[in-house]
Symmetry: C2
Subunit: 198 residues, 2 copies
């Protein structure tokens, strides 16, 4: 249908491989790049090339970085005795956005999913144990509240507690600004369980 330009057709195919981008959106994006100033398309090309060349995993926390160890792992203003375990790098971004957390991170690379054949050896579990063994005061488990996230939280806490480290998990409860009336049962139960003195 776009036979007038094979190059444009290839670009649409490449765009439509990105997450959440269907064929129609990919088409709109590709046609948009034609109307953009040449310099802006070149910027996108350079950005993609730079990401390929420069971005890697931190060998300590496995977050995205351009230097190894990453800026967080090498910062002297961070508490290196406090580690927050998350599933993916975007979880690090979400927590960093709050400007509240001052410890370091450990990116697990996913959750245990036996049905998909993902076991502890496919995640950075061994590396977490090694970091804790070198000396950690507290491990905060901040995995997503999904079935897999809960199972992984349970698995990790059983693995870590014998090492003599304090193991905590982030609170589940009513989101700030949300209405009690519309909270689901599971969340309400967790919120009641997690009640704190005022």
């Amino acid at each position: 249908m776009l036979s007038t330009s094979p190059a444009l057709e290839s670009l649409i195919t490449a765009f439509s491989r990105l997450p959440g981008i269907g064929r129609k959106t990919a088409q709109r994006m590709a046609l948009f790049t034609l109307r953009q100033p040449r310099s802006e398309v070149e910027e996108l090309i350079t950005a993609l090339q730079n990401v390929l060349e420069r971005v890697r995993s931190c060998s300590t926390c496995f977050n995205i970085t351009e230097t190894d160890p990453c800026a967080i792992c090498s910062s002297s203003r961070r508490n290196h005795g406090l580690v927050c375990v998350v599933e993916e790098p975007n979880d690090v971004f979400a927590i960093e956005r709050t400007n509240d957390y001052k410890g370091v991170y450990h990116v697990l690379g996913g959750t245990l999913a036996p049905l998909d054949g993902i076991g502890p050896e496919d995640l950075r579990v061994r590396e977490l144990i090694e970091r804790v063994e070198k000396g950690m005061d507290e491990v905060i488990l901040a995995l997503n509240p999904t079935v897999e996230g809960e199972a992984t939280t349970h698995y990790l806490s059983r693995l870590l507690k014998p090492l003599g480290v304090r193991v905590t998990r982030i609170a589940r409860g009513i989101p700030v600004g949300a209405d009690l009336e519309f909270a689901d049962d599971a969340t309400l139960v967790r919120a009641l369980e997690g009640r704190i003195p005022v």
Copy 2:
């Protein structure tokens, strides 16, 4: 917030310039490119480069092409006495998809929009007149049924009719598969006006 990687930050900015892509989606897209096989990111880079190098406007119809004149304008199986005037290249794709139209096209490049300072000299109006003067049997106006599209249709028909060419416009009416009950008044009025004998 993504200070751990300026390269990734630049990619997110570049992605978020694309139409319909907010900051969150751009972030998801950028993180996705990190997980993609290197070869797929390289394919996207090559596709962008090829589009920059190869894609241009057809000097006859102003559609997107890699050859000049384009495949449609140089085809001997097309009726070169019948021209369909559209706003943008994606309108050509939409009509071509039907495999029904056998004439040629003229991409106007938008519609008249006096409030935005877009007059006839900003569109390919002069070029259309020249093509019609060289000999055309019929001009089909296929602009979008917006206020600007309607005004442009009216303007072009007044400009073209004195040249002795047949000027038509595409039908407005109830879309195939739609429900009469839910059609808006303007569409119903047009559908009644445009009634044809059965």
